[in-house]
Symmetry: D2
Subunit: 434 residues, 4 copies
Amino acid sequence: MVISCRNSISEFWAESYSAKLWVGCRVSKKRQKMDYFYGPGRNHLFVPGPVNIPEEVIRAMNRNNEDYRAPPIPALTKNLLEDVKKIFKSTSGTPFIIPTTGTGAWESALTNTLSPRDRIVSFLIGQFSLLWIDQQQRLNFDVDVIESEWGQGANLDVLASKLAADSAHTIKAVCIVHNETATGVTNNLATVRKILDHYQHPALFLVDGVSSICALDFRMDEWGIDVALTGSQKALSMPTGMGIVCASPKALEASQTAKSIRVFFDWKDYLKFYKLGTYWPYTPSIQLLYGLRTALDLIFLEGLDNVIARHSRLGKATRLAVEAWGLKNCTQKEEWYSDTVTAVLVPPYIDSSAIVKRGWQRYNLSLGLGLNKVAGKVFRIGHLGNLNELQLLGCLAGVEMVLKDVGYPVKLGSGVAAACAFLQNTTPLIASRI
Amino acid sequence: MVISCRNSISEFWAESYSAKLWVGCRVSKKRQKMDYFYGPGRNHLFVPGPVNIPEEVIRAMNRNNEDYRAPPIPALTKNLLEDVKKIFKSTSGTPFIIPTTGTGAWESALTNTLSPRDRIVSFLIGQFSLLWIDQQQRLNFDVDVIESEWGQGANLDVLASKLAADSAHTIKAVCIVHNETATGVTNNLATVRKILDHYQHPALFLVDGVSSICALDFRMDEWGIDVALTGSQKALSMPTGMGIVCASPKALEASQTAKSIRVFFDWKDYLKFYKLGTYWPYTPSIQLLYGLRTALDLIFLEGLDNVIARHSRLGKATRLAVEAWGLKNCTQKEEWYSDTVTAVLVPPYIDSSAIVKRGWQRYNLSLGLGLNKVAGKVFRIGHLGNLNELQLLGCLAGVEMVLKDVGYPVKLGSGVAAACAFLQNTTPLIASRI
Amino acid sequence: MVISCRNSISEFWAESYSAKLWVGCRVSKKRQKMDYFYGPGRNHLFVPGPVNIPEEVIRAMNRNNEDYRAPPIPALTKNLLEDVKKIFKSTSGTPFIIPTTGTGAWESALTNTLSPRDRIVSFLIGQFSLLWIDQQQRLNFDVDVIESEWGQGANLDVLASKLAADSAHTIKAVCIVHNETATGVTNNLATVRKILDHYQHPALFLVDGVSSICALDFRMDEWGIDVALTGSQKALSMPTGMGIVCASPKALEASQTAKSIRVFFDWKDYLKFYKLGTYWPYTPSIQLLYGLRTALDLIFLEGLDNVIARHSRLGKATRLAVEAWGLKNCTQKEEWYSDTVTAVLVPPYIDSSAIVKRGWQRYNLSLGLGLNKVAGKVFRIGHLGNLNELQLLGCLAGVEMVLKDVGYPVKLGSGVAAACAFLQNTTPLIASRI
Amino acid sequence: MVISCRNSISEFWAESYSAKLWVGCRVSKKRQKMDYFYGPGRNHLFVPGPVNIPEEVIRAMNRNNEDYRAPPIPALTKNLLEDVKKIFKSTSGTPFIIPTTGTGAWESALTNTLSPRDRIVSFLIGQFSLLWIDQQQRLNFDVDVIESEWGQGANLDVLASKLAADSAHTIKAVCIVHNETATGVTNNLATVRKILDHYQHPALFLVDGVSSICALDFRMDEWGIDVALTGSQKALSMPTGMGIVCASPKALEASQTAKSIRVFFDWKDYLKFYKLGTYWPYTPSIQLLYGLRTALDLIFLEGLDNVIARHSRLGKATRLAVEAWGLKNCTQKEEWYSDTVTAVLVPPYIDSSAIVKRGWQRYNLSLGLGLNKVAGKVFRIGHLGNLNELQLLGCLAGVEMVLKDVGYPVKLGSGVAAACAFLQNTTPLIASRI
């Protein structure tokens, strides 16, 4: 694939973000003055991020500022840095909790480990991998793009060929999005590692885990990942505002010599303050630190593996419903099925945006739009983060009614029935209630 | 019916409140220290009170105390007293916002309008009307109890006979629970008024609107109700802590001569402070006042009649699901169907408590137990307050799985399908999103 | 003193609660719509209740409702009932956490232990003891009022004479307000017990600890108190909404035979639900239960005796400031000085209401008005609850400026200097920061 | 001044951030588990950022996530972008609300307007200007550093010479920190503009307004500032997490050709989404958007000029107190006095860190440490953001006691008296309370 010029790419996908898609959904002037009426009852938030925040986390963040140089915040931070490694399943990594978004976390991963004009390999399989590639190019790396049809996973055969051909080790990094949020495709990271090992290739292994970490099986150390990253508003179930990055010893070493210019995102500043014991090169969000403490506590209370099993259960239930509706998953093969987001293909006579819009207007249901190449063709159900069975079933019931609303001949109840049949057999009792 | 002695009544129903019903649901020591793990995702709260609080109300209450004698709180209160009358559909009434529960509001209604040994008529149709009668007797009134089978509404024919026979006007008040929360029975208040008018009987008309006001059609002035009352944790969708009482001019007049002893609940103290312009004879909850302001704002934004229509829609949807499951409503006739709570009869081979317990343990679903005479025989779905279609559908899906869990041969998806078929045709677009 | 008729008493003091006192303090219409502007910075809340709520407690209460019959709330309650006894320094008492205010707690204490026309002794030393006496009379007890000049403590010599003369034990209870909030007078409860013991008098010993418990030295068991009570919005530093009552075994026994009519406030209902293990005869405020849990945790973390010592320190500092300003304490003798509230006498040419009003209007400072007999003559500084040295010093500086504003020739800084000199020598390091 | 190498600079100042300064201030293990005890009463937060958040803003942020692509968030954002320009006093500027800190805002300002090796002039007058210069160098600009003694303002004479000598216009930008937070020095921006105009020099005028905007007189358009920036946790009184940047048309034009590499901070992406009407190139913090809405509402309710006047009043009061204590302001001339932070010089026999530590340990008072060259020599009182007179006076009383604690012979009450004398004459009534 040729991605010749940065601007052209972004223009090409821009329209799937246009406000025009929401024409007809009035937001009165009042909204701008805080008293917009959200409709009765709860918003059903099933976009694949930002996701539902547990009440415990909202509560923990409900606080005034405090001096971040006095002892409590460093003590809290020290503990967070230790614990946050667990969600990466890493003991040898060094974590950075950066006041930024996933996009910033991407930038941190790249600029700290690579130098301008470094050759890297990157997979284009959907909108978010595309955006990362766009960033890689704008940061002046030489990107070998391996493109797949949207709905397919990363083409690892091409990766293998490229590595095989690169005995000179000109490839400095392999960049991959673990879970492509636009198409609901999960890539196989263990295989990437195997290929790298097979060719004994020293390239850094950089992974976007934004919609996977804390939700899908993720093993930083075991899979030899060099930089992994996520954002707080995804499976951690917090507000946006933290880009969380974990660097392997090899990545840290690379950062000593990487020549990409960076200041705000520079790991060196963090490392200096780690040594000083005050931890922060600039002001962190006090509220998010307490929020992260609580988010991690909740994950550990449930058990990280139980959290992952729950996502697997909810993902499966969603796919069973889609099947029962007679619709197709955008993801082309089972091996790529994502347990955090399902992109549902709609028949050609339906505009998927109308589904999203109708769900929001009538049922206070927030679904994800199709983006870029799949705009109008898919709608997305995000099922990640702090979520349980009945929340999902309410969403699925809502989708059914919306499908009917927009003219798709769904049998009402069919998807819910399929999901229930599976969930009723697999949902464990809540551990604290036995 | 003979209710001979207060103690015996209460002992008789006590066991349906026993903690023994929850044996097997462990709550660890930890719980007592604030870090009990509630399970992933949201609690699905479908007990018929306390109900879900909108985020807007939780937010409004998130505040420090303030001096309730300085001008802001009186200004706020003045406004609240004016607005709270609207939920009673009364212009001539005088409202009292009392720091108490529904039980306290009952006591306020009775002691301010009646004197010891006054003869009153009261209907016994379920646990909450029973508890009110228990209170009436303990407050030393002479209670003519008109009992119906649980599942039936108030027997208004007997009322008519009693009034017809009472040309001496020895009956001082007719007390009725608008919506019996234990059996899901809504009484017809308009007919009560018609009967009173027919016999030109001057008895006061006292109404418990705890699970009806702000949810069911309620017209204090039009129906000539003398005292109506509700609690903040019901359809107002707030925390517990406010007993809201509205008194007609006739009730206020009666309070001038009523000899029942009362101090905390005495309207006279309120009326004095209303005149002083400071409104409160003792300290109100600052937080609840702001909560009430927001709760009313939300109801008025949606439109009180739209709120009532929404309850009607959700009530109907629930009943359709129950029917689809092949189960019976505890309420025996359609005319008594309640749009705020549905009591579902289970087959004799199932203990309804097991359903409630299982829902809570496995799906984080909170349903209502059967109480007293219907203990073990019904479980209850509360569908009142700040609630929407998809929340209810999630609950219904959960009930289906629970029914299957406990051995009832439900067809999974059947209830949801029936509810969806109705809701998909009747749910309006959210007004602020068109 | 003759208090001949209930109405007359209350009319007589009513004007000190009139909104007229605040004329000139505009509260715009906007206020009623939630967007009243409170002025920049924090409100300095120094009324003697409701008091400042710690952020931790506000946070703990920031939550949705939940089913209070499912296991978590009973587990929480059980623990609270055990722990709340500690603030009374009682091991043998039985606590009741009632959804009401201090006025309701008073009513609960009286109606559960006494019968109509019982003779009781009660001390009138200020507005709050007056209000309790008003309640006692309206509840139909025969009240022997022992009056003191406002500013003096309870006249215990008269109590002694009355008990000495009562060999027939016609006196059923001695009622006393531990700390009279209107005049800043603390009564000596240990001496009351000594007198009762001296005459071997079996009268019940009922104590209003509303502005003392959790702040002043209070020893329910050691002092043989039969019923003690407080409200959540006082030294517990919570919102209003909980009347907390503790009953001795003797009081519980008395409740078996007490003939005063009560239902909402009846201990019997609580005791029944204690046995059932579900604890609540009617719906509690979920939010306040979690708030109480946190409030108690904070008190125990600081140490109850340290909390009391802190109040003693802040009380002393306030009195030193008053002295430095050349003003007199309303409290006439040191033995009665209150560590929770200081009533400051102003010169005759100043209206104390003007001080309160000006503090609020100019400095966002909330002080207490003078009430009833001392209306216009005193203003009150509440220094109870979750408060520290610098908060108090800010208040004292504010009072100095207000005094100057209203024409009193105070030397600016004088009161703060006197308070600082004492505090700088006595304030301990914060235990968790050493 | 020669700042030869990046690393050396930062090492040199690092120790003033070391946790060693806090030795002896224990933070128990418990702290790390959320239940650290903060000591009774309120934290007195007088570091110059992050500052106190008004309860209204905390409340507004107390919410779940929502879909940021659905209409409400774009509508809210549109309105915010319009309103946020007002705090810059700009009508022609284009604002960017970036999920980052002040450091990120700096980077955004520089990389969007300049190209590598561009020559810029920058003033070094304290730690924060030093850090910005450090960033400028690391971003590969050619920095002409104009250094002043710490405590003095920017040397504008040297600027004039440089501009005079630069007829070739090799200087591409003049970078200045409006208010140096480390020394409490406010630079005169109007004069900078005059000098630029005098020499008709086209250099961009980039201003760090982090501790000035919303607190000090700031006029972006009138002073011809090209990029101005602040952070949410400063005078806006919010949590950390928003870098707010405003670009003049000239700056926007420069951004078309600026060759510095940027992606996360690239204005181009924002501008594209502005056009699309969805506003966000990546996920914003929903909570901070609502917080900003409320923060701006509060500022506009008070009136921006009143906010600035309040800071002026509090700044003056603080300086009067410092003088009364017999201490010197680190700021050497009145023309540079800062109304947002006062750096107080301590006598050589006292370590200023001991003051900060003691204030925190004993009085729950948070003051700012001296940094870098003035480490140990000054402590800082931040008096910016949502703050009022009595809060400041409590702080000043606390500082007096701390000074005495550490052995400085202060006359207790002297500073408070001086501040009160000024404030009592100048504090206006709260507008909403007249």
